[in-house]
Symmetry: C2
Subunit: 134 residues, 2 copies
DNA sequence: TGCCGTACCCACCTTGAGGTAACCATGAAA
DNA sequence: TTTCATGGTTACCTCAAGGTGGGTACGGCA
């Protein structure tokens, strides 16, 4: 069974990009793996409806207000969530995932599922390594 | 077109894991997005042959010796690369990707390709956001 | 004797992520 | 008039990633 990733194809996609665009790609992917990004996005997507800031704070357990604000601003800037402010008192702000975010989550999903279904292999590999080095 | 991620399925996979296993999954995915990990793995996979440390340093442009060593140790510990030391002078060490690493790269590939083919959308979203906030 | 090349390790420093806690603006309710 | 709720901002702290520049081990070679 020959196993060969088509990195040529990836390169083809990347070579069309200038240096800025290439680092943007890297940045997007990297941000996805930052501490709260994926979790926040997943909660918003799961709700399938606009969600207020404070509700999101409850759902994304352990996130600080500062971090959540920052993550949401970044996601908004990248067009992955929409932010709607209602001119009320007390203020009301609603967040929601965009189509493009859902597209992305669909690609992240299999990777995540694969990782969690292979946890055993990783534990075994680590145990073996640690024993060798003991 | 109803777009709905099956987070229930993800949860099902995750709920079977205890807390340690869950955080391991998170750790694996997070490490993938660290600065040099994916690039290193991709170079090794692309070579499709054992590669020496110094050759890898050349290919992964800009990585420091310290960082490359660390990344390789972690990948080795997780069973994603093999490390073979030849008892020679000067020393010779060969690295190579494992089957499981290739499996993983196949899942990362579509995500990466999608991100790079949507760079334009992200740039546009950012430009629009920055203009609004100007 | 002393330097070379490989693949490291270690000490030190800068940078940025992310936490805590305090403060702010607003108008309705008490 | 004071209080409250919401969605922030800001100052300050800690911790860890990651870079730089040095040292190390080894035998071969001049």
């Amino acid at each position: 069974m020959k196993r060969h990733i088509d990195w040529v194809e990836v390169n083809a996609a990347c070579e069309a990009l200038d240096e800025n665009e290439d680092s943007l790609t890297r940045e997007i992917v990297t941000r996805l793996a930052e501490k709260w990004t994926l979790w926040t996005l997943a909660e918003l997507a799961a709700a399938d409806a606009p969600m207020r800031f404070s509700r999101l704070m409850e759902r994304v357990e352990g996130v600080s207000q500062k971090s959540l604000t920052k993550v949401l601003r970044q996601l908004e800037r990248d067009g992955l969530v929409t932010r709607v402010v209602f001119a009320q008192v007390p203020p009301r702000v609603e967040y929601q995932t965009t189509e493009i975010a859902l597209e992305m989550l669909e690609l992240v999903h299999p990777l995540w599922a694969w990782a969690s279904s292979n946890v055993g292999k990783f534990q075994a590999a680590r145990a073996a390594y640690d024993k060798r080095r003991k």
